[in-house]
């Protein structure tokens, strides 16, 4: 059971890592002017909800399986994602708004955020991996 939980979260974490990498690639494409802001934002906005779901899934899973430490680790970043999703003004196209992404260094902020997330997910990945192995051995 324990092992199953961690295998699931490991898979989930992999998706999140891929997503973070995808965000970074797309944003840096925008930075280098390979794609335009509209295309970039519509691409990224599509993945905001899946990312949220994936994160929420892991968090919930940890809560349910009563892995408090990992749950608390995940909580802030999930909360941040939810907040960011809900805080989008109704006039904006999405979390990534093509009309504003070039303003006030938003692009850099997004980039930074994506980097931090990537780091976090990598960390989680190894935690899950370790926990999974541990669980398998214990079994």
């Amino acid at each position: 059971m324990e092992a199953l939980v961690f295998i699931l979260s490991l898979v989930d974490c992999c998706t999140l890592i891929f997503m973070a990498v995808y965000f970074i690639i797309t944003l840096s494409d925008l930075e280098c002017d390979y794609i335009n802001a509209r295309a970039c934002c519509s691409k990224l906005n599509k993945w905001i909800v899946p990312e949220l779901v994936a994160l929420g899934f892991v968090t919930l899973l940890m809560l349910v399986s009563m892995h408090w430490f990992i749950f608390l680790l995940n909580l802030p970043i999930t909360a941040w994602n939810i907040y960011r999703y809900l805080a989008v003004p109704c006039g904006n196209v999405g979390v990534f708004d093509p009309t504003e992404i070039h303003n006030r260094g938003q692009l850099k902020t997004h980039m930074k955020e994506a980097m931090i997330k990537l780091g976090f997910h990598l960390l989680c990945f190894f935690i899950y991996l370790y926990s999974m192995i541990l669980a398998l051995i214990n079994d």
Partner: protein, 1182 residues
């Protein structure tokens, strides 16, 4: 801008074929040259020495113009006169007789595109009947008088500071007074002899005749007025420019003299000098003038032939022909012999006079005079190596100057130079000292200068300053750029650029060249601030890459010689326009396409706007910018969407109704957008019946969203402009909105809600439009809340413009109706550019932080503008990313690539160069308080939308507190209680206070949400001059307008009353005061105002009988009335859109509006200026 996006569409323009014609034009220019030099010089000095006199607003521009006059006058007094005068008559015959006309005409043929373009535009702009098109210079007669007026200002300045060259000094003062009258006469005399038609023809031809086949036809430079296309409202500036031209023409005689001389000199030695020598086309100058100068400068630098350039701008523009100034000049210089022949041939009569008498003396003077104070060795780095040699040879540019002064100057040349240099230095120091003079804000009560405020001068060397872009076009908040971000933070001032890139210009060098020279790394266009390492290589001033000079560029058509790339017009003017090749097109240039979307619901019909709108369209039908392909279409909507089939061949327009607004479709895709000319009659029929078609409608719903979708579908293939007229909240279909305004909250001091859009539909729609090169302009005519915040999005992100007419009603609100009519006219006929992109590049180390304005930001430095119009401005916040220690200047380049309404792809490039400084004091000295205020206003708008209004207000106050306390910390030994500001920032607190009391940011005063949001939109898109008026209005006392100091525009004398402080204590019951708030003017009549004024100006017997809702000044046949109305209309003419005039008495409803704008006074909810200062002081000493 963008690099060649895709290739292949449309044939590239070919210069080479045209080149020959260009050569022919040479002669014209030649004569003008000297003058130009003069102008520049004078101008420069004026600016420099007596900044006060300079002008921000158009009217003042004349001053610069006036300056030239001075010299002209002087000449009469000088010994040269005889020659000159004699020369003129002689010239005439030659010109007239010259066969070249024929040659000229063909040239037109070569440029089919351009010719039509220029001609119409010109005629419209100038308002001068047909002949203007044939020859600009001469069409100006009417304008002539203009300079008299201008003159005043310049003169004074001149008298104050004796020009560097001795002769000038001596002469000027004496002439000062007589000038206005005398000047006019000579000028006219010289002009009149030439019939309009003849002149053009003769001038061009003369060169042609003499000219041998041009060797290097490749590059053709033309300065075209076409750009000016400005609608009537801008007439002011035009006049000015026009007036200027005559001067040159007058002077033209002189050039003849100069030309021969030039010939004698070694032609090539001079090149380097040109930069330095080019007389200052002071940045201040209005663009038109500016360009003129520059061109002239070029002329000067290149010995005789270059003079042609100056003319180019005038003639060519108007004539509509690409005159390659460069090419023409080239012919002369390169073939001196020919040139002789030329003179002998075409100029026979004139030649003798010129050469014989003036020649001997002139050559030297030219050299000596050139420096004129500021030309001293601080050459542009690029030119320095060359310069050294050239200088010794003798600056060629000098020739440009009028012979008169030169005579005198010659002997003292070296002394003059020296003294002038000194003067230049001292000026600079003085200026800086003046800018940094400590002003104790609490003690100095009258800090508002009585004349309009100018942008401060930078620390730039005079040579570069001369070349710099006009502050009307391109302005930086800090004229001295701090070296590092740390220094910038220390000064606590915002760094940003204010751009007005598509402003109507009267003179703009247009360059047709098969290769547009750009940096290979950063794609910067070559500009006056690059450095030439040697003849073959130039160093980019933005990224410092060393580039090769292309073969074609090596040839300088101006001098007709190789190896003078630094004299090409591209490197002589900071604002140029290139005709782009097909490399710059993604698809072939599209026709101009206009789609009008009218709201015809019950509410709309009630307001009666449709009638006015159709009327206006009918009247301006033929003036819509475009060519033979122009297309037009109409959509109306209420709860359904109606299309109009206007296919050629129909007997009458067909209306097609689509009621399925959930899934809108286009009933007959082909016949809804029709050719303007082919379906002319049908369209006119439609416009006539349209207002009557819906008179009995009962439909109250408005399906704006679906109508927009339909419009988009119609337009997406071609791009173009959608004009939406909306009178109520969209109530059904996509994009429907709900009323969000709570009328009880209008005057709350708590946070204002709903400044952000309610839905993203309009934003997405705008982005779709932007992607398809469609711009949406919104006209909102409504009494009720219409959610401007949401609706404006459709224009904001598609680079459209927003117009708002609150409480519009065709009967109840005649003032708004008049404004709507006038605005609509301007809107319909103003110049327009399609498929535009604007890229802003800046020196390495600087980066763009945020853009403000109406556009879509496509990438970090690229704005996508579906349409560009001459009335919109842009603001850019900058940040310093890397230290600028290893550079002494930074440059900004804005390049606007667009398709003209004639289907030509053009690139307009503006380059601004600013010095880098390393001390906080220098940063403060260069602070441009108006630009800073405007930049802060746009930032505050963003803040209030993204955060809250009170945040934005706090931020504004903090901006003042921070910068003043930062300044405080830089000056030592101050008492704690003294609130000081550098002189350059002395108006900062006042402007910020005014901003806090402006409609957009005020609290506590009842402000409708729509009006507030509209005011915010305006802040983002208005160019600086107009925005400043809406922030801090100008107050004049006009019940007794003085004659002294008045300027002359056209044949009218315009009084120039001093600007007064916006405080009720300045008002008096005995007076009448005009408050100019930009889009609105209030004329406040004091209770005891002299009955003389009331009867003579207003046409009423006494104060009591003035009606409450008077909005017009009657045209009465009294001196006072004429004077007053000429002043008011002069103010109105200086802006593109009509300012409503309200005549306000103490009992009229507008009274409150008037007194609210007295920003220095206390109101129930806001501080007075003095209290505000105290507040700031408190904050600082905390």
């Amino acid at each position: 801008m963008q690099q060649p996006l895709s290739t292949g569409h449309g044939a590239p323009l070919q210069n080479s074929s045209t080149a020959p014609e260009h050569h022919q034009q040479m002669p014209n220019k030649a004569p003008l040259v000297p003058m130009a030099g003069q102008y520049d010089f004078n101008y420069y000095q004026n600016n420099y020495q007596a900044p006060v006199h300079n002008i921000i607003r158009p009217p003042l521009c004349p001053t610069s113009l006036g300056a030239p006059q001075g010299p002209g006058q002087m000449y009469t007094a000088l010994p040269l006169n005889p020659n000159l005068t004699s020369a003129r008559p002689q010239l005439d015959p030659t010109f007239v007789s010259a066969p070249p006309q024929g040659g000229y005409v063909p040239s037109g043929g070569h440029y089919p595109g351009q010719v039509p373009y220029n001609v119409p535009s010109q005629s419209t702009t100038q308002g001068i009947p047909p002949h203007s098109s044939s020859y600009p210079g001469f069409s100006y007669h009417p304008a002539m008088p203009a300079f008299n007026t201008h003159y005043n200002a310049p003169l004074t300045s001149q008298t104050f500071h004796p020009p560097t060259s001795q002769p000038l000094v001596g002469v000027l003062p004496s002439h000062v007074k007589p000038l206005p009258e005398t000047v006019q006469r000579p000028a006219q005399g010289s002009f009149q002899p030439y019939p309009a038609g003849n002149t053009t023809a003769s001038w061009h031809p003369s060169p042609g005749a003499s000219m041998p086949a041009p060797t290097n036809p490749t590059a053709a430079v033309s300065s075209t007025n076409s750009q000016t296309s400005a609608g009537p409202p801008l007439s002011m500036p035009h006049n000015i420019n026009q007036s200027y031209l005559p001067d040159r023409a007058k002077v033209a005689t002189l050039p003849v003299v100069g030309a021969p001389l030039a010939r004698q000199q070694p032609p090539l030695a001079d090149p380097p000098v040109s930069t330095s020598a080019s007389p200052a086309s002071a940045s201040r100058a209005q663009e038109g003038m500016h360009y003129g100068y520059v061109a002239n400068n070029q002329v000067n630098s290149a010995p005789s032939p270059l003079s042609s350039t100056s003319d180019d701008e005038d003639d060519d523009d108007e004539a509509g022909v690409d005159s390659s100034s460069s090419s023409s000049s080239s012919t002369n210089t390169s073939l001196p012999n020919n040139y002789d022949a030329l003179e002998g041939g075409s100029y026979q009569d004139s030649a003798p006079s010129a050469t014989t008498a003036p020649a001997p003396s002139d050559p030297h003077p030219l050299k000596s005079t050139k420096p004129f104070g500021y030309a001293y060795p601080t050459l542009q780095p690029a030119y320095q190596n060359v310069a050294a040699s050239s200088q010794s040879v003798g600056p060629p540019t000098g020739q440009g100057y009028s012979p008169g002064p030169q005579h005198f100057a010659q002997p003292f040349s070296s002394v003059n130079q020296l003294s002038s240099t000194m003067e230049g230095l001292t000026f600079r120091n003085n200026r800086k000292a003046e800018a940094l003079r400590q002003v104790s804000l609490l003690q100095e009560r009258n800090i508002l200068p009585p004349v309009p405020i100018l942008s401060p001068q930078s620390n730039l060397s005079p040579e570069l300053k001369k070349l710099n872009c006009s502050p009307d076009l391109f302005r930086c908040t800090l004229m001295n750029i701090p070296q590092t971000q740390t220094l910038l933070n220390k000064a606590k001032l915002p760094l940003g650029l204010l751009l007005h890139p598509f402003r109507d210009l009267t003179h703009l060098p247009v360059i047709t060249s098969s290769t547009i020279v750009r940096c290979r790394t950063c794609r910067t266009y070559i500009n006056p601030f690059v450095s030439f390492l040697d003849q073959r290589r130039w160093k980019c001033n933005l990224c410092y890459r060393v580039n090769d000079v292309p073969e074609e560029f090596m040839y300088n058509p101006l001098t007709r010689s190789y190896g003078e790339p630094h004299k090409r017009p591209e490197v002589q003017t900071a604002t140029v326009e290139f005709i782009a090749s097909s490399d710059y097109m993604l698809r072939p240039p599209q026709p101009a396409v206009y789609l009008f979307v009218f709201d015809v619901s019950h509410n709309a019909v009630e307001s009666g706007y449709l009638n006015i709108c159709c009327q206006s369209l009918l009247e301006n039908f033929d003036k819509l910018p475009g060519d033979s392909r122009t297309r037009i279409g109409f959509i109306t909507f209420d709860s359904t969407v109606h299309f109009f089939n206007l296919q050629e061949g129909l007997s009458q327009p067909q209306m097609l109704i689509v009621s399925d607004i959930e899934d809108i479709f286009i009933p007959t895709p082909d016949s809804l957008m029709v050719n303007l000319h082919e379906s002319k009659e049908l369209i006119k029929d439609l416009l006539k019946v349209l207002p009557t078609m819906f008179t009995s409608t009962r439909e109250t719903h408005s399906a704006l969203g679906p109508a927009l979708q339909a419009a988009f579908k119609l337009m997406s293939a071609t791009g173009g402009r959608i004009s939406v007229f909306q009178t109520q909240l969209p109530s059904i279909g996509v994009g429907r909105l709900l009323s969000r305004e709570d009328p009880n909250q209008r005057s709350t001091t708590k946070g204002v809600q709903h400044l952000a859009p309610a839905t993203d539909f309009y934003k997405k729609f705008a982005l779709d439009c932007s992607g398809q090169q469609v711009a949406v302009d919104l006209f909102l005519l409504s009494g009720q809340y219409t959610d401007m915040a949401s609706l404006a999005c459709m224009s904001k992100y598609s680079a459209g413009s927003v117009f708002y007419y609150p409480s519009f009603h065709h009967i109840h609100n005649p003032a708004q109706v008049e404004k709507f009519q006038k605005d609509l006219k301007r809107y319909l006929i103003r110049k327009i550019g399609f498929e535009a992109v604007m890229r802003i590049r800046c020196t390495k180390g600087l980066s763009i932080h945020t853009f403000h304005g109406n556009f879509f930001v496509r990438s970090t430095d690229l704005l996508s503008l579906a349409n560009i119009n001459p009335d919109s401005g842009f603001t850019v916040q900058m940040s310093i990313e890397e230290s600028l220690v290893d550079t002494s200047i930074v440059c900004f380049q804005a390049a606007l690539l667009y398709t003209s309404s004639k289907g030509e792809r053009r690139i307009r490039v503006h380059t601004l160069c600013l010095p880098v400084v390393n001390s906080v004091a220098d940063v403060y000295a260069g602070a441009d308080v108006q630009a800073i205020t405007c930049l802060l206003a746009t930032m505050a708008v963003d803040r209030s939308v993204s955060s809250s209004l009170s945040d934005a207000r706090d931020a504004l106050v903090n901006a003042v507190v921070d910068s003043l306390s930062a300044y405080r910390s830089t000056v030592s030994n101050l008492q704690r209680s003294v609130l000081v500001a550098p002189n350059s920032l002395r108006l900062f607190p006042l402007y910020i206070l005014a901003l806090l009391k402006q409609q957009a940011f005020r609290t506590g005063t009842s402000t409708r949400l729509d009006e507030r949001v509209f005011a915010m939109c305006e802040m983002k898109t208005q160019p600086l001059i107009h925005l400043m008026l809406t922030i801090h209005p100008n107050l004049y006392r006009i019940d007794n307008l003085p004659d002294e100091g008045s300027i002359t525009v056209g044949d009218k004398a315009i009084p120039q009353p001093p600007v007064m402080q916006l405080s009720a204590e300045k008002l008096s019951k005995e007076g009448a005061f005009l408050m100019d708030c930009g889009s609105v003017m209030y004329l406040w009549i004091g209770k005891n105002c002299s009955s003389n004024f009331i009867s003579e100006v207003l046409g009423f017997p006494n104060h009591a009988s003035i009606p409450q809702n008077m909005t017009q000044l009657p045209e009465l046949n009294t001196v006072l009335s004429q004077r007053t109305s000429s002043f008011v209309s002069w103010l109105r003419d200086s802006r593109p859109f009509l300012s409503i005039l309200y005549i306000v008495k103490d009992d009229s409803p507008m009274r409150a509006n008037f007194f609210q704008r007295l920003v220095e006074d206390r109101s129930e909810s806001a501080l007075s200026y003095y209290e505000f200062l105290l507040h700031i002081q408190q904050q600082i000493s905390k």
